[in-house]
Symmetry: C2
Subunit: 255 residues, 2 copies
Amino acid sequence: MNQHMRHNTACKTCSLSPLCLPVSLSFSEMDRLDDIIERGRPIEKGQYLFRQGDPMESVFAIRTGTIKSFALTRAGEEQITGFHLPSEILGLSSFGTQHHQVSARALETTNVCEIPLEHLERLSSQLPELGRQVMRVMGREIREDQQMMLLLSKKSAEERLASFLLSLAQRFKRRGYSEHNFRLTMSRSDMANYLGLAVETVSRVFTRLQKSGIIADTGSAREVHIADQKRLCDMASLSEGERVELGLIETTTTH
Amino acid sequence: MNQHMRHNTACKTCSLSPLCLPVSLSFSEMDRLDDIIERGRPIEKGQYLFRQGDPMESVFAIRTGTIKSFALTRAGEEQITGFHLPSEILGLSSFGTQHHQVSARALETTNVCEIPLEHLERLSSQLPELGRQVMRVMGREIREDQQMMLLLSKKSAEERLASFLLSLAQRFKRRGYSEHNFRLTMSRSDMANYLGLAVETVSRVFTRLQKSGIIADTGSAREVHIADQKRLCDMASLSEGERVELGLIETTTTH
DNA sequence: CGTAGACTTGACGCCTCTCAACGTTAGTGG
DNA sequence: CCACTAACGTTGAGAGGCGTCAAGTCTACG
């Protein structure tokens, strides 16, 4: 009996597969992918999925939960490089190296699908559509990182937080959750780190967003209710590329 | 007669191939790669290789020269996402989309190898090592972009410029040029844009670097002579990941 | 119920941006 | 070959956004 049968979680029956690696695979191809996927026990909050320097043997798809990935600076502080939601793929940035270049840690109880690299490479050469999907996912990650570079080099604190909240909202929406009400799984400090701000600045901007009625006071710092999405968009000063990712415009226009 | 024969520039005879796509291909495999590569006329300074929104049909390897790639913000200003030197691959960030997500423009007369996507995908499934190399290149790009995120969110103006100069020095060295003397092909304004600084700040830091004797005054703003590499390294506050890329340490250690 | 960590708020200072003026270089056409 | 000009680069003064420090409040969990 396959491991994934034990957990009753095959790609074929997973609601996330249209967002994940199996997209555009046939049922029989999905079966072959399922055969190489390992689904272990849940990762508890605070546990590491892998650490910077660990031998790189697998990539991971998130099934439920949230993971943050981060690199260490020389001073030993962390630089968060991303928050990962269900269906997103983790570990691609270490492709071509023997060791993981970042650490990955659970922000809440998280279930992942582990995909051993060795098997993935073999299967990719047999299923061209799978290899293509891996490249598409990597391409998207590059674009997102470059959006992030834009955010960090050109945007004010308000614009950064607004962009971040809209990005989260859109990602929740695509996964079938509310785009207006959601729970932040990361701390203010994690957000600040990711957005290149001080914790205090993040806190102040949240307060300002509430006072201006753009987000509602839910009583809890981690609960977000977006009350005025349009004004939040205005505040974010979204770039062309961000608007594409958020589905606000169809395709990039020529300039 | 093949086009690449006309220009006497086959992968097999190209000094850059160990840094480029053909790495670890056999001679006969390189021939097959050569067959799908198109090598057109040089791109003059200021000309576009492609523009944001153009249909994406190829990726490009740089043979000689420098290309900057950049995205457009809503206000119409550009955000430079990278400077590309010989052997580097351009266009990967648009993988999985129909259109280029960035524009690419020559900073000096530049020769490129054009690799049509359609052929590359077909050949990749026949030569697994080629597909793996494409993924390695994409992995490296993700890591570099994440280094850049760290630079933009945590480093001071001095640290940014020092890191940038060291990165260029290392890349020139790997291509067989001096790592201590080189010519900047980009303007102060391009550097400032890329590093998330104002032009004036870049200029001031250059002046400071000269006054402290870390770089020598060459008489020209575009000519750089690194006089004290060690102090430049100290000034850059390099992260673990940067030190790996610069070859200062062998492998990432476990933490 | 107590404590540690997370979050908020205020005061203050500094790094870098902006604005402005000026010097320098490179490209153009007479 | 030189004059002209636009782009590029440098330098200074002033201002503001955000980081830092400090204190206090809130929340989660043992």
